[in-house]
Symmetry: D2
Subunit: 295 residues, 4 copies
Amino acid sequence: MENKIGFIGLGNMGLPMAKNLIEAGYHLQVYNRTADKASALDQSKITVCKTPAEAAANVDFVVTMLPEDDILIEAVAGADGILKTLPKNALHISMSTISPDAAEALKKLHDEAGNHYLASPVFGRPEAAAAKKLWICVSGDAALKERAKPVLENLGQGVVDFGEGVGSANVVKITGNFMIMASMEMMAEAFTLAEKNGLDRTNVADFFGSTIFNSPIFNNYGKLIANKQYEPVGFKTKLGFKDARLAFALSQKSNAPMPLATLVHNRLLTAVAKGKGDTDWAEGVGGGVDDDAGI
Amino acid sequence: MENKIGFIGLGNMGLPMAKNLIEAGYHLQVYNRTADKASALDQSKITVCKTPAEAAANVDFVVTMLPEDDILIEAVAGADGILKTLPKNALHISMSTISPDAAEALKKLHDEAGNHYLASPVFGRPEAAAAKKLWICVSGDAALKERAKPVLENLGQGVVDFGEGVGSANVVKITGNFMIMASMEMMAEAFTLAEKNGLDRTNVADFFGSTIFNSPIFNNYGKLIANKQYEPVGFKTKLGFKDARLAFALSQKSNAPMPLATLVHNRLLTAVAKGKGDTDWAEGVGGGVDDDAGI
Amino acid sequence: MENKIGFIGLGNMGLPMAKNLIEAGYHLQVYNRTADKASALDQSKITVCKTPAEAAANVDFVVTMLPEDDILIEAVAGADGILKTLPKNALHISMSTISPDAAEALKKLHDEAGNHYLASPVFGRPEAAAAKKLWICVSGDAALKERAKPVLENLGQGVVDFGEGVGSANVVKITGNFMIMASMEMMAEAFTLAEKNGLDRTNVADFFGSTIFNSPIFNNYGKLIANKQYEPVGFKTKLGFKDARLAFALSQKSNAPMPLATLVHNRLLTAVAKGKGDTDWAEGVGGGVDDDAGI
Amino acid sequence: MENKIGFIGLGNMGLPMAKNLIEAGYHLQVYNRTADKASALDQSKITVCKTPAEAAANVDFVVTMLPEDDILIEAVAGADGILKTLPKNALHISMSTISPDAAEALKKLHDEAGNHYLASPVFGRPEAAAAKKLWICVSGDAALKERAKPVLENLGQGVVDFGEGVGSANVVKITGNFMIMASMEMMAEAFTLAEKNGLDRTNVADFFGSTIFNSPIFNNYGKLIANKQYEPVGFKTKLGFKDARLAFALSQKSNAPMPLATLVHNRLLTAVAKGKGDTDWAEGVGGGVDDDAGI
């Protein structure tokens, strides 16, 4: 049993993460809403399951990588949810971007069921997931963090500890996603201003990206936005909008006014309203700035 | 004459830049509105002048580092301006953050006077100036850029060329300053959100600053804002507001809507209206976000 | 039984409304969280109840005027909620400002219990409630609207029909409250601009209020904001913030980007964060604009 | 000479105003950049002039109604400007929407020339101008205001005095135009929210326009925006954008942060950038809100 892991959610992020766990020697009991996603995995190393409950049977760990609060809660506490089967004392490593409220609620459900919950959201796009370059934020009980480490270390380049608060890692994740959106808006406005004033936007992006703004976010998203190259889609605008809503809800709840968060929220909402929810969120932001500038 | 340079403007930035030129072997004819600033320089290597005109007499180069359009234009074309004395064919290396319109106007004045103008604005705070770590953006006539290079190389870690447009380097500078303000707003909102949700804001700043946002701007300003350590004052809020106005004017003129630029413009305007124009602009932004959050 | 009405919620609005129903000849079974509010009513015309359930027993109508979704839902479906006692076929006239989602949920609960629900939110401050000058928006089943009319006509100057949608009247109410906040922001910015430019802000308010902006909202709130006279408190900033959240949630849900709604949302959130949640919302907005202008 | 008036600017507003002066018995010396506009006037009552100077010769009053600061200053102080001919002691009644700075500058020019300047900007669209329903704001020297009154009373329904400040009436005008834009944004967001939630936007506009928001601005612009009926063009988006710039400049200069003013500024800038500068400003605002909502 020790090398079996339940793995739920084979989307853009979940699939490469599952591959890395397989490569590390684990056998995965996988579940995905649309089962054919599993065909990309080595069939000898996985068991394809029909429900989350099936995937969580007889394992020490179940990893979830699902797009939002409600879907994750359904996968945990629904009629076919993992709580139906997850063994006593097993650990749910919850890697989705969800609200700290949902994290609290999930922990409570697991506590009642006699097993465990750990918030472990990640930073990184699908390429980073594939390259084991994710940054993984954890928070919660110290023993649980220790226990999850050997699994998590197969998925990223670092596991960073944000203390005991069950939802603290989720706050960090939401904060970070807000900063990514804000950076995209900043770059899109900057490059558009430069373009409108006769400069080459990629030159400007290169200069800042190799000097005072030289960071992974600036360079990765900056290239997409400077070149207006928005495919392939790594992270959808509609998921970005979900994260903007999480940031906004946190701002409301914790009395922290965030005008820039509302600006990017509205930028992504506009993209969704215009029917661009399935584009990459760099297009959701960058394309919106271009639209408004008439270019 | 070849090792004499006129140097106008001994503020927070100008003073360490002047020191570096002196160290490189130049003799400086310095002018500053308040003359006592020159007492920080090696008196054997400078001539203290009473007017910009005096400073520009008998030199090949005059360097200006002044806070805004009007002050620079007065120093060039005023009653005691450098055009009164600057030799034919000499070069004005204009390092201030000014509008591209002002750059065009100044070039025209120099053309008429038979000497030359080159836009060479810089990125970096006073510490960077002292450490010769500035980034210097140039644009304009190729021969002039070539001629200025030996001087400029004593002042920074790189001279970056943005083409022939006389004001293009200024556009880049304004664009960059907008991005710095936007980054400060982003960080201030992010760290405040984290703090309000029970996290240590310096931990959060450190995590992002050492991973996906690892860049000089994020780390330099992020530390100030995370620690709410706003002294000593490196760059004043009221000068930041001036730069926000430049960005905004450029946005208006070039039909490039920039909602984030207006947000930070209003942030800095609010700080000025509240009497905080002389604080560091990191406080103008970060302190404003804190105020609004009641912390 | 026909002249008995259950009445739940004796706040700033509920109390004068209850008085008007008593004056119209009804006997009220009143419930309020803090019972002493009922002491302001003619004791011979009321029965003071200990629970919502008690207030809803043996009546044809129960009127609710409570501050938010959760409180209303508790009063309806909680352990001592009105569903415990409300007779078959009786009608719940729901006059609070709530979300259309809550309206849908409440209708369903009443349907299941064999009685009825009607959305009837109102426009007007406490003075208007006292003077029977409220505007009452209704939507839902035609027969229910007909049945509620004789009751509602004692409370306002007009009952306006917004069709069959159970939550449509709530959408109108939320839309209207958004416009009131937006108008306050508009006036506060305008009067502050005038003041800062040497004009008398009340003169400016009077001119616009007697000409092109001559409307009840402009004149009522305009006077408060022009004179910075924010007491007595008619409607609290924290309740205004609740309504801003409702508007914002509706904007998110219906793909309708509303940058102005987010601006006033943040204005009220800032006031709450600064500890001003119990001031009048005119102060929440107007005082915030003044603060930012340093006056 | 007493019944002759110089009249400069026969645009959407100037033309009906000129008609009213003719009807009141004045003979007009008219100048317009494109001379054929004058063909709409009774030719027996006008003299068509080739320059502003010609129009200002031998008159007691010259009225100007021009679109912006620079154009007005050129018409006054340019090579063929009215200062070339305007008689000593004659009065320039300046009815355009201009900055208070321009008003100061123009007053100075007239003072030097020995004649007079009076700020008299107006509120009202072309229909209101035709119907003598304009509201006219005046400020400046008391004697000049007295002298202008008989002329101005032929143009509107009221002349309102804002004191001695030469530019004060312009501040009021800019403030009012900001409020009109803000009201349009408010209505456009409100009606779009209602529409997206299944309500009829004209019903909602009618309800608010006949109750708590019953004012000329709400009803005139509300109808246009509710019905998305944006023709004929009464006031162009690009002129509205000019006024937004004036409001913004005043905000900057007087340390009065105005986030709502910047929001509508960006709304109109976006419309201009998208090539809609020649639409009615109700379309510039309302169409922009619709675009962002994908309807």
